[in-house]
Symmetry: C2
């Protein structure tokens, strides 16, 4: 909803492609991979070029409407309404666990104190080994 207004306020043109991409991100729950977004866009509007989609996603990120992050080599996007959160992904079984945005607070604090450096952690995907897998294949 408000993404369109944000674009308008920034003086950006409201093309059908952009409207569609915004729609898709609004309708999604959780995050979408770039591949999913491309697929959904082209299903509803064949012929839209992937470069247009990537450019629009960058633009929406720049505007603060979506958050972009990395899952392995892929880019994933989620709507700003979802708020910041992180994921744990098990290297062995692939299971994912969601976790809150506050776990990096101590890191941010110590880096700020030691170096005066402000790090932003947004939608980090952390790889590791889950409880079950740790017990099982011991």
């Amino acid at each position: 909803m408000s993404c369109i207004n944000t674009l308008k306020e920034k003086g950006l043109k409201l093309t059908p492609q952009r409207r569609l991409i915004v729609d898709i991100i609004h309708d999604a729950e959780g995050h979408l991979t770039a591949e999913e977004i491309i697929r959904y866009v082209q299903a509803r509007m064949p012929g839209v070029n992937k470069s247009t989609i990537y450019r629009t996603l960058d633009l929406l990120e720049e505007a603060g409407c979506v958050y972009k992050s990395e899952l392995g080599k892929e880019c994933i996007y989620h709507h700003e309404q979802e708020g910041h959160h992180h994921h744990l992904i098990c290297r062995r079984c692939g299971k994912t666990i969601d976790c809150g945005s506050d776990i990096f607070k101590p890191v941010q604090k110590s880096l700020s104190e030691k170096y005066g450096f402000r790090v932003e952690f947004k939608h980090i995907v952390m790889s590791g080994v889950c409880k079950q897998c740790r017990n099982t294949s011991k």
Copy 2:
């Protein structure tokens, strides 16, 4: 030095390409990007294919001889002797700060307690804003 032994112990063949790649990683101080490694290898041994280099690097990582991580979209590698450490990179001025491996301890602890999940943080490159840039462009 010991990387060669590790490969030998694992029953892997000691090709000239592999020896060269190991040499380059030994001689380097700090980390190298894949691009640097490819350039150095091909300078000394023209014709070595990039897929060979990437495969060797994966192999060395698998064997625990080098650590692989990501700097932006690029892969970077450093020798295991360097030990685990992390970097802060300023989004505005590009300056980098090295920091120790212990800053993520609190995160590891809380994720372990809450979810029984063990996350490994190795050579993380964190983007943010440095002290100077924060003061300057306020």
